[in-house]
């Protein structure tokens, strides 16, 4: 199986090509089969490779497809490197990817751009596989940019709405800022180490650089720039909530399960560099912490179901960054995997809700959906439980590991841990707020729909959109979200032995970490769920909003801590103003002045040319007088 590693991205790529070259003339059935089937093939292959590799004792290996280029010493190849980390990633990408593709054949069934959708999706999977398989940073960069492009195309998939286009552009440009930082990091790494091959770099770097040396700090900080862009961490997180403009399967695949975790993968993959730069590693932890808290607060105030999930994604990736920052590499990867399961589940379930309610996304226009949409409800419940890290769900194990590792951080352990626990509390609060508002309480959708559309038969309006191709992925993802915690990620060999000793902590800590999310759920139930307390809860909310500070805080959180506004004023507007001011190229105008001067000179001389013969004669005589004068009275 291992010798076929090169085929992994080829299947989806071939799917992409077939779909593109068919130019939309292919029937939906065939397009769906190609779209989902190609990823399925990749998954089967990945599974085979994983089994073969693990049977082999997890031995890492390299497959060289061809030499990409050879310029002096710079010789990156089209070559794939497979180890435990790669295996986890390719399984998650192709596995979750396949499920989401399958779901999408149902979800997108009525869309006119069906084939285009799957072509982009397949291209995405191919690029993502290249990203995680790459054995050198340049090839990784290829995948990195490729997924960014697909993300752009898919966010703007419904291109006729300008808002979608705006969100897509924002996503691409903001991540491009990070990518540029990463590219500069690549230049720096190459100029210092003379190679971009990841394994060689990880060997060479500790030999050449001292811990904490300037180069190491610069290089890892630049890579971190790329990672925060892709993974929507502070300060480049603003694109992800807007990216929800894309179809929901996209949000599940790209903006929850796979692409946004690429930053985590990058840092984990180059962890040696980060270990050489402890200050940057600490920065990673604090970025993660700040992001997870900030987006937790923001998620509390959002009303759009997908935006809540988006902020929760940012927050969960914050956890992964926290883990990376404290050196819990495998915990980060573990959480990456479980997060992929439960967040994909949540998004797909949310997609079902949205589809069933005819593209309604405001949670306060839903309510009491647990009977109408039972499958979605159960999926959501499972997903939220895992997200909240309720005991025995997958999220519990991964988050537990992260928080324990944070506690054991040398200097700031307590701070990081308590921040993380606060984040867990917020997670519980917002995720069950979502669950309770959407699936419990009054049916606000019906009243709203009746009021706005004058439906005669509101009951008919809400029927769970569910077909086998959609149900099966939900079921499987639900199982994974529940039981994913028992999967062991085979990454110990990748991160070395030193990274992961079993973390020990007091009983109090463990208890707290179990109880706090549960407390969050309880409070959410009190405020949003329980009928008996609902009045009191609503009263409380109103009071909070009525007070000046509460309202201002709400608005502040709702706007994502004002980051968008800040960037609008610091970057976007100055750029637009500059562009508008200098639309006609100041440099060109300088040349224009030369031309103008010539023109003015010309018109001055033209005035002499009166056409009057006597004037000519007199000028002639004047010239004669001057010339003779020069000769006579010199």
């Amino acid at each position: 199986m291992q010798e076929w590693t090169g085929l992994l991205p080829v299947f989806p790529l071939a799917g992409f090509l077939l779909l593109v070259l068919s130019r939309g003339r292919m029937s939906r059935g065939i397009a769906g089969v190609i779209g989902a089937g190609s990823v399925g093939l990749s998954f089967l292959l990945a599974l085979g490779i994983a089994i073969a590799t693990l049977n082999n004792g997890g031995q890492a290996y390299t497959t060289v497809l061809w030499q990409w280029m050879q310029v002096g010493d710079f010789a990156p190849g089209f070559s794939f490197y497979v180890d435990g980390l790669t295996l986890v990633m390719i399984l998650v990408i192709s596995g979750v990817g396949f499920l989401i593709h399958l779901y999408a054949t149902g979800y997108m069934a009525d869309d006119p751009g069906f084939a285009r959708f799957f072509s982009y999706m397949n291209l995405f999977v191919a690029a993502m596989l290249v990203l995680v398989l790459a054995d050198n940073l340049l090839l990784l960069y290829l995948g990195w940019e490729g997924v960014g492009l697909c993300s752009y195309l898919l966010i703007g998939f419904w291109y006729d709405k300008p808002a979608n286009g705006y969100a897509a552009r924002k996503a691409f440009v903001v991540t491009r800022v990070g990518d540029t930082s990463m590219a500069i990091g690549l230049f720096l790494l190459f100029s210092q180490l003379g190679t971009l091959n990841i394994q060689q770099m990880l060997t060479l770097a500790p030999q050449q650089w001292a811990v904490g040396s300037g180069i190491a700090v610069a290089a890892s900080a630049l890579l971190l720039g790329g990672a925060v862009g892709k993974s929507a961490q502070l300060p480049l997180q603003t694109w992800l909530p807007d990216a929800m403009a894309g179809p929901t399967p996209i949000s599940a695949l790209i903006h929850a399960a796979t692409m946004v975790t690429a930053g985590v993968y990058l840092i984990a993959r180059t962890h040696v560099l980060f270990e050489l730069a402890p200050s940057v590693q600490l920065l990673v932890a604090f970025i993660g912490l700040a992001t997870l808290l900030m987006s937790g607060f923001t998620a509390l105030t959002q009303t759009d179901i997908k935006r809540i999930l988006a902020y929760s994604t940012i927050s969960q990736i914050g956890y992964m960054f926290l883990a990376l920052g404290v050196g819990a590499w495998s915990a980060a990867v573990f959480h990456l995997m479980t997060h992929a399961f439960f967040k994909a589940l949540l998004f797909l379930a949310a997609g079902t809700v949205i589809l069933s309610l005819h593209h309604e996304q405001d949670i306060f226009r839903m309510g009491a959906m647990r009977r109408r949409l039972p499958v979605s409800f159960w999926c959501f419940l499972v997903g939220s439980a895992a997200l909240t890290a309720l005991p025995f769900t997958s999220g519990f194990y991964s988050k537990d590991e992260i928080l324990l590792a944070a506690l054991h951080q040398e200097h700031y352990g307590m701070l990081l841990w308590s921040g993380g626990v606060l984040g867990a509390f917020l997670t519980a609060l917002y995720s069950f707020r979502l669950v309770f508002v959407v699936f419990f309480g009054r049916d606000r959708h019906q009243s709203h729909a009746t009021a706005s559309h004058g439906h005669d038969d509101p009951q008919a309006a809400v029927v769970e959109a569910m077909s086998p191709v959609m149900f099966f992925p939900l079921l499987l993802l639900g199982l994974l979200a529940l039981g994913g915690g028992f999967i062991h990620v085979p990454v110990d060999a990748v991160f070395g032995s030193g990274a992961q000793e079993e973390a020990h902590a007091s009983q109090l800590v463990h208890t707290l970490m179990i109880l706090i999310p549960i407390a969050g759920v309880m409070i959410a139930w009190f405020v949003y769920g329980s009928r008996s307390y609902q009045k009191a809860g609503e009263h409380l909310r109103e009071q909070l909003l009525a007070s000046g500070i509460g309202r201002r805080l709400h608005r502040f959180w709702f706007s994502g801590w004002g980051m968008d506004t800040l960037y609008e004023w610091v970057f976007v507007r100055p750029f637009l103003t500059l562009a508008a001011l200098n639309r006609r190229d100041a440099v060109d105008q300088i040349y224009g002045w030369v031309a103008q001067a010539a023109r003015v000179g010309n018109s001055a001389v033209v005035m002499l040319q009166t056409g009057n013969l006597r004037w000519y004669a007199i000028s002639l005589v004047g010239g004669l007088v001057i010339v003779i004068g020069l000769g006579v009275w010199r």
Binding site: Q609, N612, R614, A617
Partner: protein
């Protein structure tokens, strides 16, 4: 025979030349302009003849002959032009000929 200071001859030529020039510059009637041109040419001829007398050599007069020829040709062409102009514009005012304006 009394001696005539040779500058006087030249000065006379110069004065006549300048008179002709003044005519060319000031008159608007093209006939006058042409006449003034004749005066200028004639003054030049005078200067040559004076020079011929100064050096006691015939070449100055040959130059005068040339100028005479030139004047004849010029007048012929110039008068032809005047006739054309009068036919086209019904005037002899050279100010109407301003189509060479830039």
């Amino acid at each position: 025979m009394d001696a005539i200071p040779y500058e006087h001859g030249l000065i006379l030529a110069a004065v006549l030349f300048v008179c002709g020039l003044l005519g060319v510059l000031t008159r608007r009637n093209i006939v006058f302009v042409l006449m003034s041109l004749e005066i200028m040419l004639n003054a030049c001829g005078l200067a040559f003849v004076v020079a011929s007398a100064r050096w006691q050599h015939a070449e100055g007069q040959i130059m005068y002959l040339m100028i005479l020829t030139l004047a004849a040709a010029e007048v012929a062409v110039g008068l032809g032009l005047i006739i054309q102009m009068y036919r086209r514009f019904h005037t002899v005012d050279i100010s109407v000929l301003n189509e060479m304006k830039g």
